[in-house]
């Protein structure tokens, strides 16, 4: 552009100069031509030369007249006058200018003028012109002939000189003009050269432009995207082949039409118009040059379809045009929709699956509750050995089923990201011991030895979810036992103490068949069971290992497997755990006394399921408690308002009013049961409701099915909590009285004798085989009851009373349970007794 402007300037300047030169030349030449055609000088010379001729003529005429006559006087006078009139020429006008102040001319003109004056005097004198006059004039004429000749010659000479000067000037002028002409030619040559070059360049550019525009045209034509170009009024000025396909318009049909009349859907036309006007008015882009965006467009058939669009503008010489690159994305949209639908379907299916599993686990758990409860109860009745075996198998199967349900729920929970941990302080050796205790019978059944080795460094308390750890280890050890036919299962706990955490390593090694390297990773997948023995109950790993690994990973650890076929496998659980302060916990175990309360409690059972309610009622009554039933939360509140209960067992999900609400209402109210212990029951997952339940004011929380053993634990704990204080008080009262009376030494001896007797009784009672022997026990129990009362051992007294009662009715099963409770209570009571006596002694000493 600027280059072109420079050229334009140079050319303009060149032409300007040329024009100026031309004008100067033309003016000069015109002036010269005029000068040449103005013949002032020549004519004057001729006039001067003519003077000589006239003089000669007159001389001739006068000579002839004097010799022959013939002319009238007037004619002669006219001839003389004509000559005289010539003389005037040299004295005035241009002729005078030719002579100028030439001294020679002045010298010549003076005699001529004198002749003229003399002649005029002769002519004008009165009287006719006589021959003498004519001779006189002829004489003067001849006298002045030389001067006349001289002046003529001088005139010619001076005129020639002046002409010479004029010609020289003209020659100069011509020379100069020629120079200008040459310069002009030269300049024109340069300009021509310049023009040629410009032309060349223009042609070159033209070719390039043509090439690139052809390329562009073919690009546009071959473009897969529709390309629509419009001017600033929205008139279509470009429409490529793809656009024809996309919009259904032929190029020749749509060219020149407005976009808003053709390819823009009706509902968007106003917005398009407004947008276009706004853009042209403000040049503020809204959709223009803003990258790709999605919109709708209209086909010729009237079908509206989704497009992806990109609009750019070009501004060529102030003429704005818009270029739209349009891609028909109907197909893509459909695919997208299909994908979205598929995803939604998958998600909803997944949700449905999760929901299904949750509901199923809940729904299965509820009837299981009935089955297991009844089986537990069944085992407390007198059964033939065969029936007992059947009951055992049924119980074992129910337990497996329950485990499946729990595992399924775990899976859904893990996948739903709802896996929760309830970290708490726990004693690692204790956890391991109890675990081994539970699993040892399984191992013993298969004649396997199950050994535990906890490294010294790991004998301490940790903070973590011990229930989850137990779950994982139960699975690992259970599997080890299951898949090992001979040999041993070893559990070892080692670890490394890090600065903050301890990496605890639980290794479970067996001497089983081992797992092939290819299968080692598969065992962690869902529902994989390997090495199925023929005829063995098909239990498999199921979800166990996969769940275990997922839980371990959720906890920041992992489970690894090393195995050699034929040699056995080692499953290693590595978990990072927080350490607790190193505190001895060995003394604490004494606190948990699981004494079965012989003394009758009143229990309110709120449960909507009839079977479960009845099973629970039977269990509790079998344990010797009084049971009041409620069918829902509201019913529960009603009944709780009437009587005070020792314990309320409350199902969490119930119609009308659920257990959480009922608990909240109870705790808030000031009824007789505002502070009664409440145990929540749920068929749902293990941890979901714990927090809610505890917040609502429940003291305990238990998942269905609730087992007899669990109930016993609950009762012993509840009684311990509830009556512990009372027992202590009573104990203190009675004991202090006794110590006051007998002295602590005597009391201690009496007490020890009582506890020894009790021990003997318990051992003896344990050995009782059938109902008839029970009656013999009754008296011994009764005797001991009295002694216990004497010593103020209220709990022991209660337990003994229970044993007494059972012995009286000859209930063998209940007897065993009561005896176990008595044993525990007795041990705790002995320690408590010793402590009290020691305290009393210390008090007395000080």
């Amino acid at each position: 552009m600027t280059g072109l402007n420079r050229y334009r300037l140079v050319i303009s300047a060149g032409f300007g100069l040329l024009l100026l030169l031309l004008a100067v030349m033309v003016a000069n030449l015109a002036a010269q031509m005029r000068n040449l055609s103005l013949a002032a000088g020549d004519n004057t010379q001729w006039s001067i030369a003519q003077l000589d001729t006239e003089f000669a003529n007159l001389n001739a005429i006068l000579t002839r007249q004097l010799a022959e006559g013939g002319l009238t006087e007037n004619e002669v006078q006219l001839r003389i006058d004509i000559v005289l009139s010539r003389l005037d020429i040299v004295n005035s006008g241009r002729a005078a200018a030719i002579f100028g102040d030439s001294a020679e001319a002045t010298q010549l003109i003076a005699p001529i003028n004198a002749f003229a004056n003399a002649t005029i005097a002769l002519l004008d004198k009165p009287g006719p012109l006589v021959d003498a006059d004519m001779r006189r004039i002829q004489q003067m004429l001849r006298d002045v002939r030389l001067e006349v000749r001289g002046i003529a010659v001088l005139g010619v000479r001076l005129g020639a000189e002046q002409s010479e000067a004029r010609r020289a000037g003209f020659a100069r002028q011509l020379l100069w003009t020629g120079g200008v002409a040459i310069m002009l030619l030269f300049l024109m040559g340069i300009l021509l050269q310049l023009l040629v070059r410009l032309l060349d360049r223009a042609a070159q550019r033209d070719r390039e432009l043509l090439t690139s525009s052809r390329k562009l045209a073919s690009t546009v034509a071959a473009s897969l995207d529709a390309i629509v170009t419009s001017d600033d009024e929205g008139r279509i000025i470009g429409f490529n082949a793809a656009a024809e396909d996309v919009f259904g318009w032929r190029r020749r049909e749509i060219m020149g039409q407005r976009m808003e009349d053709t390819i823009i859907p009706h509902r968007m036309r106003k917005a398009h118009r407004d947008g276009m006007e706004r853009y042209l008015a403000t040049s503020e882009p809204h959709v223009v040059d803003s990258g790709r965006f999605e919109m709708s467009a209209l086909r010729k058939s009237g079908e509206e379809f989704p497009v992806e669009l990109n609009i750019t503008t070009t501004d060529v010489a102030g003429q704005k045009s818009f270029i739209a690159y349009v891609r028909d994305i109907s197909e893509r949209k459909i695919s997208e929709q299909i994908l979205i639908d598929a995803r939604d379907r998958a998600q909803s299916m997944d949700k449905a699956k999760t929901r299904f599993l949750t509901i199923m686990s809940h729904e299965i758990r509820t009837p299981l509750n009935g089955i297991i409860g009844v089986l537990d109860l069944l085992k407390t009745t007198a059964l033939t050995p065969q029936q007992e075996r059947y009951a055992k198998i049924a119980t074992a199967s129910s337990e497996i089923l329950l485990e499946y349900v729990n595992e399924a729920l775990d899976i859904t929970r893990i996948e739903g990201g709802a896996l929760q941990f309830s970290p708490q302080d726990f004693d690692l050796p204790q956890l391991m011991t109890s675990l081994i205790d539970v699993l040892d019978p399984l191992a013993r059944e298969k004649n396997l030895s199950l050994s535990l080795d906890v490294a010294e460094a790991m004998r301490m308390r940790f903070h973590g979810d011990n229930n989850r750890i137990r779950q994982i280890l139960t699975n690992l050890i259970g599997n080890a036992i299951k898949f090992t036919d001979t040999g041993e299962v070893k559990v070892s706990v080692t670890g490394i103490h890090g600065p903050e955490k301890t990496s605890v390593r639980f290794a479970v090694s067996d001497t089983g068949a081992g797992i092939a390297p290819d299968d080692q990773e598969h065992v962690f997948e869902d529902f994989v069971a390997l090495a199925q023995g023929v005829g063995r109950q098909r239990r498999g790993d199921g979800l166990g290992l996969s769940i275990a690994r997922r839980i371990a990973r959720e906890m920041g650890g992992d489970i690894r497997l090393e195995s050699e076929q034929g040699r056995g496998s080692v499953f290693t659980l590595v978990l990072p755990l927080d350490r607790c302060d190193r505190k001895s916990v060995t003394d604490r175990e004494a606190q948990t006394t699981s004494a079965t309360k012989a003394h009758t409690c009143s229990v309110l059972v709120a449960e909507d399921n009839d079977i479960n309610r009845r099973v629970l009622r039977d269990m509790l009554e079998r344990m010797g408690h009084r049971v009041t039933e409620a069918v829902n939360g509201e019913d529960c509140l009603r009944k709780a308002a009437l009587d005070r209960f020792d314990l309320i067992i409350m199902d969490i999900s119930m119609p009308v009013m659920d257990g959480i609400k009922a608990t909240r209402a109870l705790r808030k109210g000031d009824g007789p049961n505002a502070d009664t212990q409440i145990v929540g029951l749920t068929a749902h997952g293990r941890e979901e409701y714990r927090e809610t339940a505890e917040r609502a004011g429940m003291n305990r929380f238990h998942t269905k099915p609730i087992r007899l053993d669990a109930l016993r634990t609950i009762f012993s704990d509840v009684e311990g909590d509830v009556q512990g204080a009372a027992q202590d008080d009573q104990c203190d009262d009675v004991l202090s009285e006794l110590i006051d009376v007998l002295g602590f030494e005597k009391v201690r001896q009496t007490g020890h004798r009582f506890f020894d007797e009790l021990h003997v009784f318990v051992e003896g009672a344990d050995a009782v085989e059938d109902a008839s022997d029970l009656r013999a026990l009754r008296d011994a129990a009764h005797k001991l009851t009295g002694a216990a009362a004497l010593l103020g051992l209220v709990q022991v007294e209660a337990r003994l009373a229970a044993v007494e009662a059972r012995a009286e009715v000859g209930d063998m099963t209940a007897h065993t349970a009561c005896l176990a409770a008595l044993r525990e209570t007795a041990e705790a009571a002995r320690r408590a007794f010793d402590r009290r006596v020691a305290q009393a002694e210390t008090a007395a000493d000080t």
């Binding site: 006039s47 006219l78 004509i82 005037d88």
Partner: protein, 162 residues
Amino acid sequence: MARTHHSRRLAVLFCFFLVWVLPVMAQDALGLQVTDGNGDTITFGFDQLDALPQSEFTTSTIWTDGKVRFSGVPLKALLDSVEAQGNTVKMIALNDYAVTMPFDELEEDVPLVATRMNGEHMSVRDKGPFWLVYPYDRNWRYRTETKYALSIWQLNRLKVVD
């Protein structure tokens, strides 16, 4: 019409020829003899000429000093008055100097057959009595050699030829 241009040299030769070969004819010095295409000759005196349409202008000439006012009859008017038929007019001076002029060159009031210079009749000694003049100052076209040659003084006879 084609033979209208006369170079100066030719004019000079022609004049010599006239002077020596032709007998000097008796001439009326104060009249202007106009011969029309038919051969009829009319002699115009001052009175007759003054009766014709008059015109005048002031100009300088190469033969006089300063500006001069000429008045008289435009040549065209004079020729029209005799209803001259032809293409060329031949003009002859007292000394037999002669020039010819095509009618085409005649303008409405140029050239002028001057009867007066500065309002006075001109004597023969003073290039009179009639002088064909152009307004030389008016236009450079009147200052060409041809026009100076045509500026014939002591005009005596006009002859219309084809």
